[in-house]
Symmetry: C2
Subunit: 151 residues, 2 copies
DNA sequence: GTCTTTGCAAACCTTTTGCAGCTAT
DNA sequence: ATAGCTGCAAAAGGTTTGCAAAGAC
């Protein structure tokens, strides 16, 4: 007898799903992961992608960035770091991505401080803080260009 | 002729829905708003709550805090400010709520700085930043107590 | 052989939408 | 009278689940 879900058997599909989430910088949805892998693994099912991503989440191998346009988006980079979400095309980017404005690095520094303060105070008043998510919403440079061209 | 949705007529139900979102500190879902108002407005429909919240969102009278346990949560306090979300009971709290640890005020200060930096750099490299969302995930003191009592 | 994993399809649940009737102006 | 607003029920769309077959050990 054991705690349910504790005995884990090896699965090639599970490996492939985790590798895909970890290796992409696209902060993918389950559907996106499925679409990418479907070509190489014809027998794959979307339900399997969901089931395995939920496993990864439990063991903290993957985190959720949040829901964008109705789809949950995931990240294989699990330590807290800020994201930029384009409200136009739905793209999710790491805040330290090379395409983003250089002034944003100042923001990064401040947020590092925040994390440090939190680490000290995380048990105050009986609260437990597990994680921080910071998301900047806006319009990415591609979409800004598109709008300017159309108008 | 006019831009669709521009001509707005007065509606008591709309007023009531906005007032409910603005007056509560619960960061409610559409369903919660509906449940609260249903007693006073028997003819109310959930679809009307959704439709009106979406209007408020467009005119930025209300913002989304994010999706918690599959339900979108809203806030009538529209200026960016951090939130705490309990992963156990789903409660959403403002980060400056009196129940929260005093050390958290240091975090608040840092995040104010972040907002200032952003305001300066928001148009760099063609990007436009509209909004910032910071969420701290953890377990609220009530749920920590519950777990300790049970164990 | 036993227990885990998976595909398929159905179920679930929140949110959106079409339409006919109602309300505000 | 002319729009906009609402209730109802149906549809939509992402995610979960039951079950029997396939796979890992």
């Amino acid at each position: 007898m054991s705690i349910p879900g504790t005995d884990r058997k090896h699965s090639k599909k599970r490996d492939a799903i985790l590798a895909m989430v970890k290796s992409t910088g696209s902060h993918p949805s389950a559907q996106w992961v499925y679409d990418q892998l479907k070509a190489d693994i014809p027998g794959l099912s979307l339900a399997t992608v969901y089931r395995n991503i939920n496993l990864f989440r439990q063991e903290e191998a993957v985190v959720s960035v949040g829901v964008v346009d109705g789809e949950e988006r995931f990240d294989g980079r699990v330590e807290p770091h800020p994201h930029f979400v384009c409200g136009c095309c739905g793209r999710v980017m790491d805040y330290d991505a090379p395409e983003l404005p250089p002034s944003f690095s100042k923001v990064m520094e401040k947020l590092k401080d925040v994390t440090d303060i939190l680490r000290d105070g995380r048990q105050d008043a009986g609260f437990v803080i597990d994680y921080r998510k910071t998301v900047f919403n806006g319009i990415c440079s591609d979409c800004v260009k598109k709008v300017k061209t159309t108008a």
